[in-house]
């Protein structure tokens, strides 16, 4: 049985300067209510790891627009002009990573791997400062794992044990992020008795706390 906490208890799990992975792709599959609560709590100097910068008023974009993000690690920031502005004015560090590399770095972080070899980014500025490894006369970039203090996910169906399912394209980075942080909080659209054990996306061992979307 996993502990179901209130949204107001989020404050016990966040602090200035922490690193947070946030699920979602263009804010689809992002725990929006938790983003609002983070804005209200106004925790600062965050390192946010997310596929993209969301929109100014949606997803992690809200945290960026509220100047709470010190470093953003993402693959795309094009739909949030505020992210572009903060980056170019030097007010937010932005580390742009190819999307597949970001997903795999998080997977490596959660799977206990020391990194992985990818051809993506060879011959581009992405390879700058990284080790090139040759395997069977083919070059690869050595990319390192990423972990974070906290993951904030959006689950569609969560059972009382914490087993979690993600529907349709809200899935995206959510399952992989569940594996790669010290603590995982899932915002649940619906809490049920039991998810069919054959059809669990994320086993409950990865989930620490559940917050119900409609309290």
């Amino acid at each position: 049985m996993k502990e179901i906490i209130k949204l107001s208890e989020l404050k016990n799990h966040v602090f200035d300067g922490m690193s947070i992975m946030v699920g979602g792709f263009m804010a689809v599959g992002t725990p929006e209510k938790i983003m609002d609560e983070l804005v209200r709590l106004n925790v600062k100097d965050l390192t946010i790891i997310c596929n993209d910068a969301g929109f100014v008023d949606l997803g992690v974009g809200k945290l960026i627009a509220n100047s709470q993000v010190k470093t953003l690690i993402a693959s795309h920031i094009g739909l949030n002009p505020e992210a572009g502005r903060l980056m170019s004015e030097g007010l937010m560090e932005c580390i742009l990573v190819p999307q597949g590399t970001l997903a795999e770095q998080i997977r490596a972080g959660g799977a206990g791997l020391g990194g992985f070899l990818t051809p993506t980014g060879l011959g581009t500025i992405v390879e700058k400062g990284k080790k090139i490894v040759t395997v069977d006369s083919k070059d690869f970039i050595l990319e390192l794992p990423i972990r974070a203090d906290l993951a904030l996910l959006y689950g569609t169906t969560v059972d009382k044990y914490g087993n979690t399912n993600f529907t349709k394209t809200t899935r995206n980075f959510n399952p992989v992020m569940a594996t790669a942080t010290d603590k995982v909080i899932v915002l649940a659209r619906e809490i049920v008795e039991r998810i069919d054990p054959d059809n669990v996306d994320t086993p409950h061992v990865f989930i620490d706390y559940i917050i119900k979307e409609e309290e």
Binding site: F25, M26, A27, V28, N51, D52, A74, S75, H76, I77, G78, L79, G84, M87, S88, C94, L96, P98, Q99, G100, T101, A103, E104, I106, R107, T118, P119, T120, G121, L122, G123, T124, I125, V126, T156, F166, T167, K168, T169, T170, R171, N172, F173, N174, P175, V176, D201
Partner: protein
């Protein structure tokens, strides 16, 4: 041709490159139009890197589901046989060489098959999204683009902007012609007879290898 006609013309020619059963990823903008021009006997699977195969048309009021989106964040539909997956698997599909064709736009592309499409330093920094993985992993990379940008060549000897990938582009399709990147350079395979070969050469910043090019045919 006006701008929209030009885009449709390019998309229509790109569609001829797709074969029945191909798994295809179409970039945002002009490449998305390619899906509108597939011959009826060609069925392809469209992948969207945010986590689906079986990308369908825009929804109607009846089948609108905000949980089904494309890589641009727009609400779409899923066709019969389609399915969803997470980002790590999505990029295993892409990087692992399981995507047959990817069609993307460009800022610049060069005769060595290198592509620049994700950043204009100091001006525009949207990020690479999934483009670097797509261009590196797909079996065939087609660049669908207008031949020039406000009269300035986009097809160059060597890209001057930061690259999306080096030596990965196979084909470039514009309103002026069809070009293929080969070992010995960039070949003009087909040309649009609305332009003279001289006009095409002048609008191209790269060296074009021209050996009996065919006329660009849109109908079979």
């Amino acid at each position: 041709m006006d701008r929209q006609e030009t885009k449709n013309f390019i998309a229509k020619r790109v569609a001829k490159e797709l074969s029945d059963g191909d798994l295809v990823n179409l970039g945002i903008g002009l490449p998305t139009l390619v899906g509108n021009f597939l011959p009826t006997d060609v069925k392809i699977d469209l992948q969207s890197e945010n986590g689906l195969i079986g990308l369908g048309p825009a929804p109607t009021e009846d089948n609108y589901d905000k949980d089904i989106t494309n890589a641009g964040g727009q609400v779409v539909t899923l066709v019969e046989g389609g399915m969803y997956f997470d980002s790590a698997l999505s990029f295993a599909i892409i990087r692992g060489g399981h995507v047959d064709v990817t069609v993307l736009g460009c800022l610049q592309v060069d005769e060595l098959g290198s592509l620049a499409s994700w950043i204009i330093p100091g001006k525009m920094v949207p990020g690479m999204g999934g483009a670097m993985d797509l261009v590196t992993g797909a079996k065939k990379v087609i660049i669908a683009t207008t031949h020039t940008n406000r009269g300035k060549p986009k097809i160059l000897k060597e890209c001057t902007l930061p690259l999306t990938a080096k030596n990965q582009v196979n084909m470039i399709i514009t309103e002026m012609g069809v070009m293929e990147v080969k070992e010995d350079g960039l070949h003009l395979l087909e040309y649009n007879p609305e332009y003279t070969i001289m006009e095409i050469v002048e609008a191209t910043g790269a060296t074009l290898i021209i050996k009996e090019p065919k006329v660009m045919e849109l109908e079979d």
